[in-house]
Symmetry: D2
Subunit: 416 residues, 4 copies
């Protein structure tokens, strides 16, 4: 019984600009042409660029971070037609395996330009910088953030189906209204990434008129939405299954933004360990699954192979919905989360990390963020749990306080 | 070597009104007199009323829920002086054990009066009702929500230290400002529970002038704050350690609001399995721990004995920050959480549960709520994971959709 | 709805000799009279003496160990009639809870008289001694074995049903034949505990003729057998379910030999943390379950609440079936296990423990013993995994070798 | 910073006989020439044949099994010189990754010729047959054993260092003595695999005199021994570290016998999921580690990424040391294990599996085998725990007994 190798449905050349290659796109739109087709149940591989589409390098400076164009991020592989899929069905995405490219065993976490992104602590840590992670088997460690090592819950940041016009228009309308509202407040806050022709790309050999239409109309890939999208769920790793709504005939599945690891929240925006990667997939269909099971948003079941730590090996910080200025907010889980993160960073600084190192570490390591309570007015309580076993020194509280560690290094900065 | 039984420092009589008993209080204030003292390292027991202070009963109607006075909830046991504790120290709270009263092996979860509380789905499920849980060894099951059974992560909803005047005044100021702001909006929203003499209680044999002063000035017990308070962290169970800031000489530790189990978020407000209980504690002190370790909010380390489920035995729902009317909000984790909960409830209704049953179940069962991403503008993504093993039928998605289960019963309603 | 307290079906007075109290027995025999009855589904408590029946005390010498009479060990609580149970049915034993007596929060692990017992390392560690464990909430620690602390998988060492005459006679026959065979070898080895009237006890108010008959015929409680018996499975803890064969009308269930914790193998014979305890039970029946499910030996399902450690926090030793003298044995798992234990003890001695301390520690702590391979002639491979998190120092291998720890104390010895 | 691909130190051609390829050997001997060298800390890949060296195929008959020559099994990749390693040091084996060959995603489990092997149930299941497993991402399933699917704890069955002459001679002496003893008993039992020139192979380009000497003197690879060897520990998976004694300058590390998964005990001899595979390794040295840490047998630390199941999702069978004929043995853990396995097989047959299917399944799936007690004369108790979540039907005990499943298929048999 001869065995066929698993076919690679989309290949990329990491050393060539992505916008010269087919099977890649940077927008969501109903009319992006399918690049290839699969049968339900077929096993296949897809190669993916990192989220920046190759704009970041394995170096010790952050000049590349300075130059990243956020309009062209999320270079997705796809869309892939799934034979027989129709609107109203559910797409079963069976994640068989994910690996780094064998000759690119590294990734990065970065603080991007705060004027162009929405990182969680942009105001506290505005300086662009990055940390490179070396991938050593199942583990990551960093020359820029010493004394930590952890296994990856390797996962795709983005999986999604093509929206229908109806769905796309709902997205555009609600996001525009939000932008308009904040414009009326004149709060200077970038609250959504609206359609923008700059950086739009939908593959090679496409009718230029269609490309222009998608550039004009296509929605951006930044947020998670009803079709999946940038869901950034750290546990969607090898062996997991996701169920996504289908809006167009053939589904139009795309994937990208591979992360070697991520902390809940992906707080530094470019906050996971971003990497190029190869994903092995099997897609299936549940006919009429949306209505039959009332599933109109993604649902998923993790694989049963993961890193696990004893429960007593987590150190948990808390935050409440009072902001940095001491102002009380009403059950605001985002502010509570922010305070929990700030509490954890201050604690880790006691061991000699810079704030930026701690920030990037917590973005990338398998940190758990729970909404513990959200009804005890006016404060919600968010708990933020760090696995102590990822450090090679003891981080547990003790009499006398923390001990500064030797050789703490530093993150990679811009050269000028 | 004769063994001394573990002393009970605070006893309660569950069949007598709490406001006739010493060692109990319903407000936080620097001058509430210590009821008793312990040495650091001493092991002792404390008996606690349920959060309502005995206003709810093991019955099949919800007349008691209708009558609950929210101004007198959170009947706490304490305050306890810890010898040698001084402001700036950290209090180590070592939770040795928690048990139901042997002759009261039950608890409840309820939908309270939406006009008086801040439950997560007050608008969707405004009708008062309750579910009684029978505690059977380490497991809870309910005649009002059939087909589920799960072990408790039994924990105190509230642990805290007495605030200083300075701290208390900060709390009062910021919470008043929030109330004033919402009053100016005239949005009809109850956003904080400000001081209110009604229902204030600080124990027996207290100078009436002091009791009146505390009634006037004391802050309410509803929210979690920097000293701990109503933190509602479901994993703070047997074998856990918490570290709390100390603001007054002697610390003034109090505990209450015992939960047999709770889902992350405690969504129905009276949302855990509320019960009377007995907690065994050991308290310790880390001198100058607040400054030495930059700990100004509670930190905790769970015990290593917990219920655990295989990762692949969780079904995970998602929500994004788009509200029920389709309006887009900016990275609002509370709205994303709400959508995830609503998605889960709709799914479970497919098996025959009423919305209220599903709502109370998810409030009480060990459901995990993660903030998966909070930087992907404009949507945050909250994932909401339900352990499938708590059901006696299969809840995993499948072709053909869910199967209605037999004998689904109903929750307890008011009789008129 | 008034709640009835859980009834205690068998009470013991720990300060009175067990052989003056009803509801206790030290032999298995079909005619031991039922002490009490329960309905299937009824929840009840049973109080139990420690395995020695009160012969060991919380002291710092081992004079009590010297005096223990092994003919009177395993003071079991029972037998309990289960209404409706008939031969061929299965008994479902639902272990709801197990607790120490509130005023006896201690246990012990001991090296007994090697001439009277079958401990695993009798030849290496023949000197009688003991370690007392202090039970502190869910954790045990010992003044006789410093620097360790671990939560208990609290469980009954013995659960069983009364044998039929047929079953009892099979047991007696096969065990006698083994004794006879070894007698013929004249190897001086005590290979089984045959019936012996000395120390036989079947409760109060029993017809003396019956007591004498049981003393003569009754089988000893030392081994596990088809009915359960001394199974010593460390994971049979709170929330577990066991299924036992039923041989007599009414089943005749007994329980005892409570352990706070145990390492796989219970190597020092009196090797768990032996303690007095109170068990809460619910019994059920599966009619004709033995034949229907081909269950002729105990089957069990653990509870889902346990201590757990990250997999990478175990240090695993191996042993092969070559004995201490270098002699090769054929796939002998017992010898392989012995070598693994000896390897672990030698390793731990590097940190300053005496061999006896390490031996008693490994007997009592939640150590895992796996038969890794048993087909690779001539060696079986047994792996022996120690959770590193139970130590307050680092036991992982490192350059330079182990560091002797301070204040290692010593075990309790006989005074003369 | 250009990234070098991880070098492959030993390549194999799966479609060519192994005995025509370099870097492979089938015996252990001090003078087998190093095939290649690595520096401590260097990361490299090694390709490995399956244990049979390519004698078994992905087919639906077992004709290949009939023909396997056990004298030529365990085709190991190596030996590899580790620069700087000297006798007395410990070799740290850091298992970075293990993968199937991308175009060979399958493995097998087989019942071999009982006259030539030592499988655990040779007497019960003597007929040669096999099951093919399809590897689908991280999961295995089998067309020959339907209704099961489980993730692999992928691991090398064999890792070892070259023995010194002294060590090799100890092994040969003790194994010969065992063979002689059994020969004197005339029990017809094959108890050890002694040196045998047939099937000996030590690579290409070797001095024929040396090859002949090794063929004559070299020890067989069947058992685990002090240097590691055929240890078959199912948890030695990705991210694990092993520590092996070093006996010769340069260590001489070899690896092979890759398993996709294995049940504790590997009971059917060819009992794991045997497969061709590629292992990524990093080797290190602890100078003088053997004496410093009293490590004279392998020690290992698993990685923290594994499949895990909730504790309550295991069904546990027991066995005691009474053999199939009812004869009592003395604390014999091997017999107790055998009884536990037989009990489990009988139970599974109730669902429609043949005995052989159940036997091969339990050999290959992640089944746990614990020695629960080994001091309760005359019976040891072995517990045998099967994860219920690997089945797509419910295997838990219930009233009415098991239900026969549809389409149970059959294993692959010899065609004549």
């Amino acid at each position: 019984m001869p065995v066929e190798p698993i076919p690679t449905k989309i290949s990329v050349d990491l050393h060539k600009p992505y916008h010269e290659q087919p099977g890649l796109h940077t927008r969501w739109h109903p009319e992006i042409p399918f690049y290839c087709s699969v049968e339900p149940g077929e096993i296949f591989k897809v190669e993916c660029f990192d989220s920046s589409g190759g704009q970041v390098f394995n170096t010790d400076d952050a000049d590349d971070i300075v130059k990243v164009n956020p309009l062209s991020i999320h270079c997705l592989s796809g869309p892939i037609e799934v034979k027989g899929a129709e609107p109203g069905d559910l797409l079963i995405v069976d994640i068989q395996d994910i690996q780094p490219f064998p000759d690119e065993p590294w990734g990065y976490t970065a603080i991007m330009d705060p004027k162009k992104t929405s990182a969680f602590l942009n105001d506290k840590y505005p300086q662009m910088q990055k940390a490179i992670w070396d991938i050593d088997g199942i583990y990551a460690s960093s020359r820029h953030i010493p004394h930590v090592k952890f296994p990856g819950f390797i996962h795709p940041g983005i999986i999604g189906t093509l929206p229908s016009y109806e769905m796309m228009n709902i997205w555009k309308k609600r996001e525009s209204e939000l932008v308009d509202f904040h414009a009326s407040l004149d709060d200077g806050c970038t609250v959504a990434a609206l359609p923008n022709p700059e950086g739009s790309y939908i593959g090679q050999g496409v009718d230029p008129a269609l490309a222009a239409k998608v550039a004009e109309e296509g929605v951006r890939t930044v947020p998670p939405r009803e079709h999946g999208g940038n869901i950034d769920i750290k546990n969607l790793s090898r062996g997991s299954k996701a169920y996504l709504p289908i809006y167009v005939k053939g589904a139009g599945f795309s994937v990208g933004d591979i992360h070697f690891s991520e902390g809940d929240g992906e707080i530094s925006f470019c906050g996971a360990i971003e990497m190029h990667g190869i994903i092995t997939l099997k897609l299936g269909i549940i006919k009429n699954g949306m209505k039959d099971m009332s599933i109109y948003n993604p649902v998923f079941i993790p694989g049963n192979v993961t890193a696990h730590y004893g429960p007593s090996r987590y150190l948990t910080f808390q935050g409440i919905s009072v902001d940095d200025d001491g102002k009380q907010h009403f059950l605001d889980a985002k502010i509570a989360f922010r305070q929990a993160v700030l509490n954890a960073i201050e604690y880790l600084k006691g061991y000699g990390y810079t704030g930026e190192q701690a920030y990037l570490l917590l973005s990338a390591a398998p940190v758990e963020t729970h909404i513990s309570s959200i009804v005890d007015i006016p404060n919600s309580c968010v708990s933020y749990s760090i696995p102590a076993d990822i450090f090679d020194f003891d981080i547990m509280p003790k009499e006398g306080g923390p001990v500064i560690q030797p050789n703490m290094g530093k993150t990679a900065f811009p050269t000028k």
